[in-house]
Every structure is written in C-alpha cells, then in structure tokens.
Symmetry: C2
Subunit: 229 residues, 2 copies
C-alpha cells in the first residue's frame, strides 16, 4: 500500500513538529510526502499532475497545522482546483473511490480543551466535519483523525510513542487493532537494519513489549469474562 501525504505549511523549515514527522517516514519508500507550498510557490496548482499522484496511492493523508479550525489556504486552493474540474468529475471513481483518507493535524492547544466546557468548546471531530463530508462525497474510508497536540511541550517518551504511532498511521493496516499493530511491529523489527539504527530498534522493541502487554491484558479480561459464566 502506497501513502500520499499532502502536506500544507507556509513555513515548513520553522516547524519542529513537521520536521519531526518528515524525518519519521523518510526511510519508508511507500510514503510520498508532497509539500504544496514547496511544489507551488506561486499558488498555481496543476490539477492533472495531482490527479496522477492521487492515482498512484491508496491512502491519502492531509497533513497541516490546524489554523483557525481548518487548513492553510493553499490546501483549500488544492481542494477546489483538484476536485473541481470536469476531468476529476469524469474520473472520480478511479481516482479516490474506496481509498483511505486521513488527517494529521498539529494543534497548538491541548486536547482536553476540545470538548464541551473546554476552552475550544467543540471536539476535533466536530471541527473537522468538512473533511469527513469530503471523504463521504468521494466514497473514501475515513480514518480516525491523528491529532498532535502541543508538540513543543511533549516529553521525549511521548515523542517516541508519537513516532511509532505516526509511522503506523501512514503505513500500518487499518483499523489499528491489537493484532494489526503487533503484526506491523514484528514486520518493522524484521526489516530494521540492526547495525545502522540501534536506537530506533530499541524503541520498537519497547513498543512491542507495551503492545504485547496490552494483548496480555485483553486476554486476561477475556479470561475473567469467561470465568463469570
């Protein structure tokens, strides 16, 4: 499965979170990171080129900083140009139908503020309805939103988990069940070059341990439930 990350950020080099995310998937051949502001500095999107890119990928991700509860303007321009023409309308079925669609959002405000009674009052799911409506219109499979809240304040431990979770979001099988995640981790471990990446390897081993522990807990719960009968 090939994944296309359509990334919109007006000042990419100044964004710690975006640099972190780009580095996290650099080694993955099946992931294409497509930064719109670099590709189109004059803001003139080429719809044909974008259609070709979409055709070659099965999972489409919109990745951007959540500015005023939406994307930077160039991604909106991209939507209007790429989805708007007759060419797209004619080919819609082959370009997006049945593919997976996800959002990777970097957010300056903490997650708990996005709820009734919180500072932002609305949930991330409520605020991203326009994207859900697009996925629905295109008959795509909408993945749970991947929100990265207050990256600048995240601990090293949290960032290590973020790295693995993000890599999984882009390359792992959905839904992210315990079984799918474990299979993914084992496969990652097998294809990792021990010599060149000892630190990354140790993080993944740790993640596997956590995952297996989760699995043990699920199994323990099942055992308890069965014992009640």
């Amino acid at each position: 499965m090939n994944t296309l990350v359509i990334l919109s950020h007006p000042n990419l080099s100044e964004s710690g979170s975006q640099q972190f995310l780009i580095n996290a998937v650099e080694a993955y051949e099946q992931v294409t990171v497509h930064h719109l502001e670099s590709q189109y500095p004059d803001g003139k999107i080429d719809p044909q080129a974008e259609h070709e890119l979409l055709k070659r990928h099965q999972r489409i991700i919109f990745q951007f900083p959540f500015y005023w509860y939406s994307s930077p303007s160039l991604l909106k321009e991209w939507q209007d140009v790429v989805f708007g023409g007759e060419d797209f309308y004619r080919q819609q079925g082959t370009i997006l139908k049945g593919k997976e669609f996800g959002l990777v959002l970097s957010v300056g405000v903490s997650e708990k503020e996005y709820q009734a009674g919180g500072r932002e009052a609305y949930t991330m799911d409520e605020l991203t309805r326009p994207y859900q409506a697009i996925a629905r219109h295109m008959e795509m499979i909408y993945l749970p939103c991947f929100g990265i809240h207050q990256f600048a304040y995240q601990s090293e431990a949290k960032r290590k988990q973020l790295l693995i979770d993000y890599q999984y979001y882009l390359t792992g099988r959905q839904p992210a069940s315990l079984e799918h995640r474990t299979n993914w981790l084992v496969n990652e471990l097998r294809t990792t070059n021990l010599e060149s990446l000892p630190m990354e390897l140790s993080d993944k081993i740790e993640a596997i341990a956590v995952d297996l522990k989760d699995r043990q807990e699920v199994l323990a719960d099942l055992k308890d439930t069965l014992a009640e009968f």
Copy 2:
C-alpha cells in the same frame, strides 16, 4: 449599525447569486461590500487595512460560495493573515469582541440534502462549526447562518423574499423577531423613494402584509393558549 460583507468569490462576474446579492444592498450606505479577489488580485492581504475596516463596522459577514464545505482559499488566507498577527492579538478586544458575526452561503445543493439520511449527511450547522468556533474565540455574537440554496432554480417569488430577507440579515436588528422585522419593514417603507423604486416598494408592502399576517397568527395562537387556562 454598519455592516461589513467580506465577500470571497474567484469569478464574481459569472455568479448570478452574488450579482443579485450585491445589487440588493447597493442602496444601503451602512453596508460595505468588500470583495477580496478584487481587492487583492495577487493574494497578498494587508492586515492593517483589514483591521481598520473591521473597526469601523459592528456586524461582520463572511459571504461566499460553499466550495467543498468551506470558503474559497482567499478568505481562508484572509483569516490566517488578519487574525494571525501580533497586532491583532493586542487589539483583539477592540476589533471584534461583542460584535455580530454571520455567514451568507450560496450552496449548489438543496437544503433538504443537509441532514442525516440526505445526500450530504451533515447539517449546514455541523459543517460550519469552524466559523462558530472562530466567533466564539473572538467573543462575537454568532447569527443564524443565511444559506441560499440553488439560487439558479429559484422562482421569482422566492427571489423577492430572498431579497428582503438578505437586506434584513445585513441591516435589521437581531434576533429577527416579529417585532424587529415589522419595525424594520415600516422604516424601509418610510425611507423608500416612491417615484424611483415603485417595484421594490410594492414588494415591501407585500412583505409587510405577510409579516403582519404572521403577527396575527402568533397573536391568535397566544389567544388560544390563554383560553386553555
């Protein structure tokens, strides 16, 4: 009360609905229609000029065609530039706090499709959450959304009603209670030049009649309710 209509449309001259709306409020001195694509053909928004414009108006309207469940890209750029700077942050209280905020959306799909089970599945209120969140963040008063669905297919009678409703949305007192609407219509009638606008006048007289009839019905309902005690 002065009203600022921040209008975003990439092909204004080709839009029948937008031309209709612009003509509808041409005669109102208290309404400023500010078309972003004409003002900024190069897409470079001037935040200071926009702040000054916002300061001079008490009701702020975003008016645009509902493209992919959001605005054209230049209005999003406007939001990021105008709300994003330190200058705005410092003056936020004086620029927008306590003012009214409304949306005027031209929509190609009929209203009944925007509900569970309809073709678009989500309501207009759900899809416009990002604007509600902005109004909330700025401590503005959010007005009910003014949606114009399938303008091209509207009958003459429906357009006459739309004209009056739009004029009221921009210049009338909110909330749009029966009393406020009647006062507005009577005032409109008094300030209309009989000689120069006989057709418009007759439409307004008709609207007054409808409004007074509504009032009669409300009064009749009240009478019925009281009779039950």
